[in-house]
Symmetry: C2
Subunit: 406 residues, 2 copies
């Protein structure tokens, strides 16, 4: 039988066709008025997408490049910084800051958990220059409460800049970064914006731009002040990834409801879509007797599910791939083999999610760990969809339904 | 939320990505060695796909063009022909044959039914020159028994040529046309071969080629003898649809398991895939209390389902489109509003089918005609899949399953 390849990984995510066409057509030189017009438009669209009035810088690099830029441009060797770490990407902040000579305080929590405000308060020092955190820790599916952390930093009148890796948070979480006082927010291309890897972007507050004047960690390719000077003129300092930028523009048009998009207009609709797919997945997992890895702090970028006792999650990933060509993510780092992750960010619709749940039911039965009847996960997901669509059902889950339109 | 456009129509069908890439790249002139090599290869691949040693002619036209060619090249005005008609495409044979001056006998059965051999035997005349029939009547989902009809014609030593419109039969039905004695078999591009509309093809027996020598109905663009002379040299008489031919070549490569196809190799796997998706759909319909339109003679190209009493199938089609961007087919001709049709031919996989069943469940509830609990159709489809995948479940449908691997 056919097995269509379906990516359910939290990056790369499925490509938006309109972006694919734009990328295929993008045959232009990057020192021309045509490119400057495209680049300026995309930077402005990114401001709308992020929801900020701050200048946005677009880099031709993976998200880690923008993370590095947020260390090298904002710190000097010996600066004290605080990393909030509860997963593989938290650990990346630590490695980056250590690599560039910072004195790193790490508030470390187990994978799958988040941080209490008291813990953060205790970890903050007067000298803390930056706080580095993930909005969504992709390795565990956990969402950290950025609004509360920003509020705490204001409350204690910290001088620290709040730097948020929102690579899988943007487009899956409602942010109001300017109002909250987030100083740096970082995104990547192969995530909710539905294009391939190769671009990262970040918006920086005035405080962050000021900090850069004195920060003297070495940087060249990721020198944000040089980039800003160029990008305000519609260019980048070094050769940009032109086709990806064209694709990003098309994707942001689509998200904005232009160009025939079939998404209810805007970033909020994109986030609500991810939330719906995530809720369907969580309901299905519960009906299938599977446990969430981050039951108290899950986000909508991806759902991390614990492999049942005695089952290696690697086998679940492999069975979905070989049986259905459905690609989900294993656990990362220390969680490899113990959890598996199903993505919702970007170009997934509820029917995609339903299909993956159906595949997971079969895999659970094939691998012998199913404690549920076939269809139970799907049924639970259907009820979530129906409720969201404004239909409710008097009936219990498995008795004949009478329809009630609210 | 996102609503991804999904075609579930029995032509056009979803496009194969490998074919899309080949079409986009097909920038060649049609009077060159490059094109001749491509064209000859595709004609040979079509022989394999059809399963015939007869020469295949490829026409730049829709399937109706090849149907017309099968009338104009094989009949003369006044010839007596028999049309087996139980749907809109049967009626097309009648209209075509009448249009070209044939004396048309019509064995007409109600939409959704098929023909008994006794009825055909009674309708055949000594003078019958051709018998025209559909392998799969796309308007009703019915499959006619071509093997039995061919056998009957031999048994009664009929001189009539058997002409089979297999436009949705090829790739959804196991044929052995040479062994059965089918004289003409016709296919189209926007069907099981997963490319856009614009090409038709047909294979003709020696008897059919001989008949053409004397047949004098007028024909020019569809003059098969002229085409044959050209196509044996790798060209077509008139300008061919080059990009579609390149796409067809890529699709037939894919079906044959070349070029990284994820389909178990060959035409039979394609047919088995359609059969599985059709069986999942029939099981879901039954669980949803919906009736098949052709319960005794359904095929695997598409499943036609009767709209419940008091429900206009047009509303089902519209709700699936507006709610999910899922495109299914209404009834055609006199069946418009009374049935709806879900396709399985071509590039559908079981997860696509599951997604559509989930959408149909929601639509049934939204339109108020559901007599089943949400998830019932999906569960039934899952059981069909599991059985086909070699897993069986001791349990009843809705009690906890114990897994038994056969």
């Amino acid at each position: 039988m056919f097995r269509k390849t379906r990516l359910f990984t939290p990056g790369p995510t499925p490509l938006l066709p309109a972006a694919q066409f734009a990328m295929a057509a993008a045959d232009m030189h990057h020192r021309t008025p045509e490119f400057r017009a495209l680049f300026s438009k995309v930077l402005s669209q990114l401001q709308t997408f992020i929801g900020t009035k701050n200048d946005v810088i677009l880099l031709s690099s993976s998200g880690t490049g923008a993370m590095e830029a947020s260390v090298t441009n904002l710190t000097s060797p010996g600066d004290r910084v605080l990393v909030l770490s509860a997963g593989k990407f938290g650990e990346r902040w630590t490695a980056l800051a250590q690599n560039f000579g910072c004195h790193v305080d790490v508030l470390k929590k187990p994978y799958g958990e988040t941080f209490s405000l008291d813990e953060i308060r205790a970890a903050l020092k007067i000298e803390t220059r930056c706080v580095y955190v993930q909005a969504n820790e992709t390795s565990t599916g956990a969402r950290h409460d950025i609004q509360a952390i920003a509020s705490l930093l204001r409350e204690v009148k910290s001088e620290a800049l709040l730097v948020v890796d929102a690579i899988t948070g943007l487009g899956t979480t409602h942010f109001d970064v300017d109002a909250w006082g987030v100083d740096v927010i970082i995104g990547g291309s192969q995530k909710a914006v539905m294009i391939p890897p190769g671009l990262s972007y970040l918006a920086l507050s005035d405080r962050a731009w000021e900090r850069m004047e004195a920060a003297y960690n070495p940087r060249y390719y990721f020198d944000l002040r040089r980039e800003r000077k160029n990008q305000l003129k519609g260019e980048s300092a070094y050769t940009p990834a032109v086709s990806l930028i064209a694709g990003l523009g098309a994707a942001l048009d689509y998200i904005a409801g232009q160009g025939g998009g079939d998404l209810a207009t805007g970033r909020d609709a994109l986030i609500d879509n991810a939330e719906l797919c995530a809720e369907m997945t969580r309901a299905a997992a519960a009906a299938m007797g599977l446990k969430l890895f981050s039951p108290t702090c899950y986000g909508a970028a991806a759902t991390a599910i614990v492999a049942p006792e005695g089952v290696d999650s690697t086998n679940i990933v492999k069975d979905l791939k070989s049986r259905f060509a459905a690609v989900i993510a294993n656990g990362q780092g220390e969680m490899k083999g113990q959890i598996f992750r199903i993505a919702h960010l970007g170009y997934f619709d509820p029917l995609d999610t339903l299909a993956l749940i159906g595949a997971l039911e079969q895999t659970a039965h094939a691998l012998g760990f199913a404690k549920f009847p076939l269809g139970a996960g799907l049924t639970a997901a259907q009820h979530v969809y129906a409720k969201k669509a404004g239909l409710s059902y008097k009936s219990a889950q498995n008795s004949p339904a009478e329809l009630v339109t609210r």
